[in-house]
């Protein structure tokens, strides 16, 4: 069925289709309409789930955790300060290897207080052991939520997944979305039945303590699972394609990368604008390409290397900043490309903070700047675009 949905409605539709059984939620802009929509579904009887109206985001994740260990499929959503408030629970859930899906409608962190999009909230949670997938469209938000349930519960992964969608640009902007049939989704996503769950006949402990002798082993297995997730994310995407004839390439989504001298790397909805700019510059004969990073954790080092080896300059646009250094993605891409026999130069840009629009002109400017650097054979200096934050 084709429907006119915004990103948040697409996520809600996916959660219903995934037959989530327990939803624990606390409102925060721009996520709120996801959990409002789910509440409506439950109220009108079109979705059968327990809705826990918690008193905070911290409690939302704790309730999801408590519910998930009983063997239920759970969902929550948040943004910005709410995600920051959940922070303590994030490694708890991932360390306990509890699969669940959380939508993050990305938004900048205060102060200054803001409700608009950037990636600082989710990026700040980079090392909490959650898989992070960034989507470009409402359609992809829906599809990725369905994929995420499968990835999270894969027996060799057992790791929670954040599906990140840019606030407003995706969360509140409508597009035509193909909403799959329930039967088709049921075939793709069977009910969640974990091997271990709360059971008075088999009394397990969930969330054990571990001393210095054993703690590292738990962390080692967690790291192995995350590395394994790279392949699983791709497998699930292929499987999804077989069921629904749509694919997002798994970990990375390259666009004209094969022969580009300058490749721009972005995450999230900016990719839509960037595609237009690539098309425009290609028509002008410029060898430019785009690489959309879909999976930020696990970080797809191999796929990035494969897609970027031909580039002379890799421009990285961060919607975040690691204060005192640079954009986080820029650092990560540099690290991923280090050690290649022929290394492209990496030029980091920071833009779109706190909802500042990233225009076609901004992106064309980055491309031109880097094409110029290729001609001059220098690095292409790092800078801040579309802000007053010029050096």
């Amino acid at each position: 069925m084709r429907a006119y949905l915004n990103g948040n409605e697409a996520v809600a539709a996916a959660v219903r289709l995934a037959r989530a059984e327990v939803v624990a939620a606390y409102p925060i802009t721009p996520q709120s309409t996801i959990v409002e929509k789910i509440a409506e579904y439950i109220a009108d009887g079109s979705m059968e789930a327990d809705y826990i109206r918690v008193e905070s985001e911290h409690a939302a994740l704790a309730a999801c955790y408590g519910s998930a260990v009983t063997g239920t499929r759970v969902f929550t959503a948040t943004s910005s300060q709410g995600l920051a408030y959940m922070f303590e629970m994030l490694p708890y859930v991932s360390g306990c290897r509890v699969p669940m899906v959380m939508a993050v409608a990305n938004r900048g962190l205060a102060a200054p207080w803001t409700i608009w999009a950037d990636h600082q909230d989710a990026i700040a949670c980079r090392d909490t052991g959650w898989i992070q997938l960034y989507v470009e469209t409402a359609q992809e938000a829906l599809d990725t939520c369905l994929q995420a349930y499968k990835i999270a519960a894969h027996p060799e992964v057992l790791t929670p997944v954040m599906v990140c969608l840019d606030g407003y640009v995706l969360s509140h902007t409508e597009e035509i979305v193909d909403v799959p049939d329930q039967e088709a989704v049921d075939r793709f996503l069977p009910p969640y039945r974990p091997e271990y769950s709360v059971d008075t006949q088999r009394p397990y402990v969930f969330g054990v303590g571990a001393g210095p002798d054993l703690y590292p082993a738990f962390k080692y297995y967690q790291q192995q699972a995350m590395l394994r997730a790279k392949e699983v994310i791709k497998e699930v995407d292929r499987e999804f394609q077989a069921h629904f004839q749509r694919s997002y390439g798994g970990l990375v989504d390259p666009y004209y990368c094969h022969d580009a001298a300058v490749v721009l790397v972005v995450m999230g909805a900016t990719a839509g604008t960037a595609r237009e700019v690539v098309d425009y510059l290609r028509r002008q004969g410029e060898a430019v390409g785009l690489l959309r990073l879909r999976s930020f954790r696990p970080f797809p080092v191999e796929d990035l290397r494969a897609a970027l080896t031909r580039a002379r300059v890799v421009a990285v646009l961060d919607r975040d900043c690691s204060f005192g250094y640079e954009g986080v993605l820029a650092t990560e891409i540099k690290a991923a490309l280090a050690g290649l026999p022929v290394q492209p130069q990496v030029a980091g840009f920071i833009g779109g903070l706190g909802g500042r629009d990233i225009s076609q002109e901004d992106l064309a400017g980055i491309f031109r700047h880097c094409l110029e650097a290729v001609r001059r054979q220098d690095r292409g200096e790092k800078q801040v675009i579309n802000g007053d934050w010029q050096k």
């Binding site: 905070s56 969930f206 303590g209």
Partner: protein, 271 residues
């Protein structure tokens, strides 16, 4: 009324690393004898977790869900909802937290869960300070008590504020059942646990659980002090039921000195 003699021999918590004379582990052990094996406990980093669930140890013979310090009651709500989804009826969900995890950092989540009316029992084993981290004061520390964050010195005179009235706070939520208890009065305590089991909706029990290293007394005095707290009027045995508060009468009140004198945490108080 629980008959102590009729309680089962079987232990549902066994093999813990608790200090000798720990009132907290005694409170949990006793409660589980009444709660029985069809119980899921939800705990939080605390002495209780520290002494019962360090991998591969499992002192509980019932499923145990550990969660972050502020979130015991929120995770309880999740377990309750999850068991309902799984169609598992007749399993009791019991939150267990110390006083810090209840009256301080855990208060918001507890308030939320009570207000939602979820069906659970919350037992606070109250040892009147953060014992697991080395005896820092909590909102449940009584006036005058010496702790490592309310030390006694040329200026400091121990805890400066009276103990938080948690029963009053919980009762203000219109909770169906709430009570205070003491491990020194097992029959009273266990009868309250039994009553809590029969309640539809949330039930709260705060049980005084003396702590030898934290309070500074020899291990064998735990039960005696738990009784003296009641007999000297320091720890009223109260029950809040159907909107009414009742407090157990004390026939022969003992002098306060009897309770304070054996405890190092009150040693600085004038005799």
């Amino acid at each position: 009324m629980v008959k102590i003699k009729e309680l089962p021999d079987v232990e549902l918590v066994q093999g813990s690393y608790a200090c000798a004379g720990c009132g907290g582990i005694l409170a949990v052990r006793m409660a589980l004898k009444v709660l029985g094996p069809e119980t899921v406990i939800v705990t939080t980093p605390s002495c209780l977790l520290g002494v019962t669930t360090f991998y591969p140890q499992l002192a509980f013979k019932v499923p145990c869900v550990n969660v972050t310090f502020p979130s015991t009651a929120a995770a309880v709500s999740g377990v309750v909802a999850g068991l309902k989804c799984r169609g598992k009826k007749g399993v009791r969900v019991v939150g267990l937290a110390g006083d810090g995890g209840t009256v301080d950092i855990g208060l918001q989540a507890l308030s939320g869960a009570i207000e939602r009316g979820d069906n659970f029992i919350f037992i606070c084993y109250d040892n009147e300070a953060y014992m697991n981290t080395g005896v820092q004061r909590s909102g449940a520390t009584p006036l005058g008590a010496r702790t490592t964050t309310t030390p006694v010195g040329s200026v400091g005179r121990g805890e400066e504020r009276p103990k938080k009235d948690m029963l009053g706070i919980v009762a203000a939520h219109n909770i169906p059942y709430a009570a205070t208890a003491s491990i020194g009065y097992p029959q009273d305590y266990l009868t309250k646990v039994q009553k809590a089991m029969q309640v539809e909706g949330p039930a709260y029990i705060q049980v005084l659980s003396p702590c030898p290293p934290g309070w500074g007394y020899p291990s064998e005095l735990t039960v005696k002090l738990a009784r003296l707290a009641v007999q000297t009027g320091q720890w009223p045995l109260a029950e809040y039921e159907n909107g009414r508060l009742t407090v157990k009468e004390i026939a022969h009140r003992r002098p306060l000195r009897d309770y304070l004198a054996p405890q190092a945490r009150f040693a600085h108080l004038p005799g």
